[in-house]
C-alpha cells in the first residue's frame, strides 16, 4: 500500500530540523561520508541508543535462510542494515541525529555480487550512501518555512472568515433554517479544525521538549486534530444527505429531525479517531505519532474518502433527479434547486481533491514545488473557501446584509422580524407586481436553498410567470 504523506506531516518533520542540534561531523564532499569517529568526537547519545537497538535486533533476528550469496547484517555507525541478497540495494529513512539531515530522504547501501557490502573506491572503506540526506537541506528549509507560514496564514484567514460568517448567521435570525443550522455546525467544525491545527503545528514547531520527551499531550492534540478533520468531512456529508432527503427522497418536506445529523457530524468521527489511536499505541507508537510512513493513517483517511464518495453520489443523484424529473413539470423550482445544489457540488470535489492527488508528487523540482503550493492552499484554505461559497456568495445573505445596510442608512425603526417563509415572499413581492399563487406555496422551500444570486431566483420566477401565465 502506498503511504500517505500529508503535507503537514512532512512540514512537521522538516520544521523539527530547524532545532539547534549537532551539526554533521563529516564533510560530504569527500568519500569518507561515514561516521568519521575520531578521538575528538564522541558519538552522541542518540547514536549509542540506536547502536544498542541495532545489535539487539541483529542477535535476535532469525538467521538468513534464503539460498545464494548475501551481505551480512551490519551496523554502519549510524543505521542498522539487515541481511540482503547479493546484487541488491537496501534503503531506509535518513536518521535524525543532525539538524541538516532530512528524515524524508533515503539513505542507501549496496550489496555487491560477491556478497560484500559496497566499498568506496577511493579508500576501500565500507560505505553507505548518506549524501541525499543533507544535499538539498538549505533550499528545503527555506521552502519549509514558507509552507509553515502559508499554513498558519491559511488557517488564520479561515478562522476569521468563518467567525464572520457565523456572526452573520447568528445575527440575522431571519435567515434561520434547517440548512443554515447545518451550515453553522459545519463552520464550527472548520473553525475548531483550524484552531487545533494551529495548536498542533506550534507544539511541533516550537516546543521541542514536548516532542523529544514524547509527552502524552502531543498525542492528544494529534488525536483531536484528526477528529476535527473527520468532523469537517462528515458535516459536508450531512449537508449532502439533507439536500438529498429534501429533494429526492421526501420532496418538499421542510422539517427533518436533526438529531441524526448531529450524531453523524459530531459523534461518529470519534470512531475512526479512536480506532487509529488504539492501533497507533499498539503497533506504531512513535514519537508524538508524527510519522506519515504508516498505513495506519488510512484508518482516518479511508472513512473520509468513503464519506466524500457517498456525498458525491448523493449530489449527482440530486442533479439527475432535477434534470430528468422536474425539468418538465416544475421548471422554476428545478432551477432554484439547481442553484442550491451547485454550491455544494462545487465544494465537495474541492474539499476532496487534495486527498486524491496526494500520493502523486511530481519528481521534477519545479513541478514538485508548484504541487506543494497547490496542495497547501487546497488543504489549509478550505475554511475560507467554505465560508465564502456558503455564506458570502449566498444571495439571501447578501440581500439580508444589503437590507441591514439600507436600514442603518435610512435610520428606520425596528428591524422586521420576518418568518423564514414570509420573508422570501415579501422580498419577491416587492420586486414583482404579480406572482402566481403556486409560487407562494413553495417559497418556504426556496428559503432553504442557497441560490448564488438573489436576482437570479427573481428572474426565474419572472420567466415562470411568463410561461404559465
Amino acid at each position: 500500500m502506498g503511504k500517505p504523506r500529508t503535507p503537514s506531516f512532512l512540514l512537521c518533520m522538516l520544521v523539527l530540523k530547524m532545532l539547534p542540534t549537532l551539526a554533521t561531523t563529516v564533510n560530504y564532499a569527500d568519500p569518507t561520508s561515514q561516521p568519521a569517529v575520531t578521538e575528538q568526537t564522541t558519538p552522541n547519545i542518540k547514536i549509542i541508543e540506536s547502536q544498542f537497538k541495532c545489535y539487539e535486533k541483529m542477535q535476535r533476528d532469525p538467521v538468513y535462510n534464503k539460498s545464494g550469496l548475501y551481505c551480512n547484517r551490519t551496523w554502519d555507525g549510524w543505521l542498522c542494515w539487515d541481511d540482503i541478497p547479493a546484487g541488491s540495494h537496501s534503503s531506509q529513512s535518513c536518521p535524525d541525529y543532525f539538524h541538516d539531515f532530512d528524515t524524508t530522504e533515503k539513505a542507501t547501501k549496496y550489496c555487491d555480487e560477491t556478497g560484500n557490502w559496497f566499498r568506496h573506491p577511493d579508500n576501500n572503506r565500507t560505505w553507505s550512501n548518506y549524501t541525499l540526506c543533507n544535499l538539498h537541506s538549505h533550499g528545503k528549509l527555506k521552502m519549509t518555512l514558507i509552507m509553515f507560514y502559508l499554513t498558519i496564514v491559511g488557517h488564520a484567514l479561515s478562522m476569521a472568515s468563518l467567525s464572520i460568517s457565523l456572526g452573520i448567521f447568528f445575527y440575522f435570525k431571519s435567515l434561520s433554517c434547517q440548512r443554515i443550522t447545518l451550515h453553522k455546525n459545519l463552520f464550527c467544525s472548520f473553525m475548531l479544525n483550524s484552531l487545533f491545527t494551529i495548536i498542533h503545528l506550534n507544539i511541533i514547531g516550537n516546543k521541542n521538549d514536548l516532542v523529544k520527551e514524547d509527552w502524552v499531550i502531543c498525542k492528544v492534540v494529534q488525536f483531536l486534530t484528526q477528529y476535527m478533520m473527520g468532523c469537517n468531512y462528515f458535516w459536508m456529508l450531512c449537508e449532502g444527505i439533507h439536500l438529498h432527503t429534501l429533494i429526492v427522497v421526501a420532496v418538499f418536506v421542510e422539517e427533518q429531525h436533526l438529531h441524526w445529523y448531529y450524531l453523524l457530524g459530531w459523534g461518529f468521527p470519534l470512531v475512526p479517531a479512536c480506532i487509529h489511536a488504539v492501533a497507533r499505541v499498539k503497533y506504531f507508537n512513535d514519537n508524538c505519532w508524527m510519522s506519515a510512513e504508516t498505513s495506519l493513517l488510512y484508518i482516518i483517511h479511508g472513512p473520509i474518502m468513503a464519506a466524500l464518495i457517498v456525498n458525491l453520489f448523493f449530489l449527482l443523484n440530486i442533479v439527475r433527479v432535477l434534470v430528468t424529473k422536474l425539468r418538465d413539470t416544475h421548471h422554476a423550482e428545478s432551477n432554484m434547486y439547481m442553484k442550491a445544489v451547485r454550491a455544494t457540488l462545487i465544494l465537495v470535489p474541492l474539499l476532496g481533491i487534495h486527498l486524491i492527488i496526494f500520493p502523486w508528487r511530481p519528481e521534477h523540482k519545479l513541478a514538485g514545488e508548484i504541487y506543494d503550493y497547490i496542495m497547501h492552499i487546497l488543504t489549509h484554505y478550505q475554511g475560507l473557501l467554505v465560508s465564502t461559497i456558503f455564506c458570502f456568495f449566498n444571495g439571501e445573505v447578501q440581500a439580508a446584509l444589503k437590507r441591514q445596510w439600507v436600514q442603518y442608512k435610512a435610520q428606520w425603526g425596528h428591524r422586521r422580524r420576518d418568518h423564514c417563509s414570509m420573508r422570501s415572499a415579501s422580498y419577491t413581492a416587492t420586486s414583482i407586481s404579480e406572482v402566481p399563487v403556486y409560487l407562494y406555496h413553495h417559497d418556504s422551500n426556496s428559503d432553504q436553498l442557497n441560490g448564488k444570486h438573489g436576482e437570479d431566483s427573481e428572474i426565474t420566477m419572472l420567466k415562470a410567470r411568463e410561461t404559465y401565465a
Partner: protein
C-alpha cells in the same frame, strides 16, 4: 587504559589487522565492561538508564583502539564483538529496538475496513431515519 600497553603489544601499525584489533578489544575493552556489569545486579542489565554509560564507554573504547590501529570503525570485528556482548548480557531484555512497524496485513485490513463499513452503515442509517420523519409543511 591505553598507557597499559605492555611492550610486546607496541607495534608500528600501518594497516588494519583484524586479528590484532579483535585481540585488543577483547583485552582492553571487554574486560573493563565485564567488570562493571558483574558488579551490577543482573536484573538491572536490561535497564538502559543504568547500563547506558558503561555501554557508551565500551563503544568509545572500541573506537579509540580502531583509531590507534588505523582501522575503520565500525567493521566486521566490531559487529561480531557487539553481537557476542548482546548475546551474553542483553539476550532476554524486552524488545526496545524494534522500529515501529505496521501490523500484519490482515490486522491492518481489519483496522481500515471496519471504520469504512461503519461509515457506510451510519450514512445509510441517517438517510433512512430522515426519510421516515414526519414532515411539517
Amino acid at each position: 587504559m591505553l598507557f597499559s600497553f605492555s611492550a610486546h603489544h607496541f607495534i608500528l601499525v600501518t594497516t588494519c589487522e583484524n586479528a590484532l584489533y579483535s585481540q585488543f578489544i577483547q583485552e582492553f575493552c571487554f574486560d573493563s565492561f565485564k567488570f562493571v556489569m558483574d558488579a551490577t545486579d543482573e536484573k538491572y542489565w536490561c535497564d538502559w538508564e543504568k547500563t547506558q554509560s558503561s555501554y557508551g564507554d565500551l563503544t568509545n573504547c572500541t573506537i579509540l583502539i580502531a583509531e590507534k590501529l588505523k582501522c575503520y570503525w565500525p567493521n566486521q570485528v566490531v559487529d561480531d564483538f557487539f553481537i557476542t556482548i548482546h548475546r551474553n548480557y542483553f539476550k532476554n531484555c524486552p524488545l526496545t529496538g524494534r522500529a515501529p512497524r505496521d501490523p500484519p496485513n490482515n490486522v491492518l485490513c481489519a483496522f481500515i475496513m471496519v471504520p469504512m463499513l461503519i461509515t457506510l452503515l451510519m450514512t445509510a442509517l441517517v438517510v433512512w431515519r430522515s426519510k421516515y420523519n414526519e414532515g411539517i409543511v
